[in-house]
Symmetry: C3
Subunit: 263 residues, 3 copies
Amino acid sequence: MLELRLVQGSLLKKVLEAIKELVTDANFDCSSSGVSLQAMDSSHVALVALLLRYDGFEHFRCDRNRSMGMNINNVSKLLRCAANDDIITLKADDDSDTITFMFESPKQDKIADFEMKLMDIQNDHLGIPEAEYQAIVKMPSLEFARICKDLSSIGDTVVISVTKEGIKFSTRGDIGSANIVCRQNTTVDKPEDSTTIEMKEPVSLTFALRYMNSFTKATPLSSTVTISMSSDLPVVVEYKIAEMGYIRFYLAPKIEDDDEDTL
Amino acid sequence: MLELRLVQGSLLKKVLEAIKELVTDANFDCSSSGVSLQAMDSSHVALVALLLRYDGFEHFRCDRNRSMGMNINNVSKLLRCAANDDIITLKADDDSDTITFMFESPKQDKIADFEMKLMDIQNDHLGIPEAEYQAIVKMPSLEFARICKDLSSIGDTVVISVTKEGIKFSTRGDIGSANIVCRQNTTVDKPEDSTTIEMKEPVSLTFALRYMNSFTKATPLSSTVTISMSSDLPVVVEYKIAEMGYIRFYLAPKIEDDDEDTL
Amino acid sequence: MLELRLVQGSLLKKVLEAIKELVTDANFDCSSSGVSLQAMDSSHVALVALLLRYDGFEHFRCDRNRSMGMNINNVSKLLRCAANDDIITLKADDDSDTITFMFESPKQDKIADFEMKLMDIQNDHLGIPEAEYQAIVKMPSLEFARICKDLSSIGDTVVISVTKEGIKFSTRGDIGSANIVCRQNTTVDKPEDSTTIEMKEPVSLTFALRYMNSFTKATPLSSTVTISMSSDLPVVVEYKIAEMGYIRFYLAPKIEDDDEDTL
């Protein structure tokens, strides 16, 4: 028997909106410690890793470990039928090939349940080693989303460079070239407005803007985003999910001979 | 001479938005008692009946009964030129084949008039007998609209079942199946948020969701909707028009052998 | 060296939005007195004239007169990357064929700079003689925009007639005919809500609604619009730019034999 009850149902709605642009089908792996998901995007370039810890649920029962394959677009359709203040419960019998989503209005006067067939999905579960990063930048998620969107109107790739002073996003295209610098600033009224930089050494990497823009679909989940970079590793773009876990996006840098020029 | 002056002009705007998806051309029947309209949708499946009583108008003059044929889409275009707080006056001479819509701003500093040619429309006026219904449900119109829209993302038809406990909306499609139950609740802060059920016997009928969704275009007219059902009659979906009348939509249930299964 | 610093950067964003529908490429003419632009629309029917006086800038340095050719759509793309409260600075070296747009956030924690190549544009600079107009109407810009949009749903041309009582906009099309009259009114709470008419003699001219609708893209720049008309001159539709200058649109009236009929 699996039964997960999430009072803040809107979180699950946002999680699905965050991953549905990148992921078509995926396994939700349930164990007594929580729910996790790991999936490559359809072109096998970016990796999504989701974690929702058991203690973020009001009620969490998972009698045996299960990988439940779902079509992300279908789950997203179902969850759009939940109001933002609905309580969401997921239920599945141990031997069942279906899962039930239940949405309860806060006043309990409207109850919706949706039954969906599960899928068999081949999973190449990647071990993601813990790594030391040369630079870790924490910045407002809305600012990051705005920069990725703005630069997309000019170029296709972004060079992200971190120094002690700040983080610089650069692109160039037919119209011309652009540089946006966010300076480290910790003297702001609200902590979530601050930009902080932990840096061992300066780093500068190039990425496809298309993927960065997909990652920013997770913006509603968190007011801040953390970007971790090392020259020899995929970048990690992480959005915390309040008290429960995270969504992490991994993307390998582009190898370009003219990296230096582009800066 | 016909002259109808409606201080709350936005009501007429909403009426046209409510029917324009279903009805192409229709006669507005004017008599000393008010304005009414009856029209089938273009596929002759659903029926719309509108009533605006004379005493809801600030000024109502109708010297002789007239059926004024209009293209609903054109009337809707004209009315979109009226501001929400405009006073709307309809005028037609007895022997004229045109009608004039006049829009006055509240401060009388802007006056617009639109003249439109009337059409000859063959009318098969149906007598709609008063009927006793097995179940009458009154519920928030926004809730009903939301449910119809949500279920449309899953299936094409909806089974509406009424019991003493509540009203259940069910559908199924390629993704899976869905049930939404609204419980009778009368202990709400605002009367328009309540769901009330008058039931002689349980009833369960199947309808095309496409039509239900068209009916919900009338939602801005009223905070509540009344759904009247009997096994042997078309469902009536009624939206009251404040102090003046109503829009009623009639739709015959689908006859399906597997009704019981779908529930 | 050219260096123009505009604290209220949103003004420049609005200017570009106002002209980009009409103008493809244009020269920004910079001199010690300010920035001006004059351009025909692509079909050579309407003329746009822009003036931004030097004293509206926080810092204005222009060592020698320059005509800087730019693709308006590209400039608009760049400016959409500026936040509404950003300070915008334009910079160009005297011998450079590029211009730099710099956007600074109010707190100076985000700095963006965009470099764009300048173009060579042939300019037929028209002398626009100062003229006496038979009628000058000042009215709320939102009202004017609403009227042009509303009439476009009915006809393609608008007859604008000014008398002592007010300004009348008329059109006709397949649906029917429309007249909208705005009366002179000066007894309003806010001066920008008033409609005032300075008239030497009544005037009535016909214009293509398509162009009028393009002109109203300047509505966000000013709460009022001034329409100046004479029988033998193009109409001038002017939007003031707070304390700095204006955008003026010029459009020749249509010569129609049936002008009188259309009224």
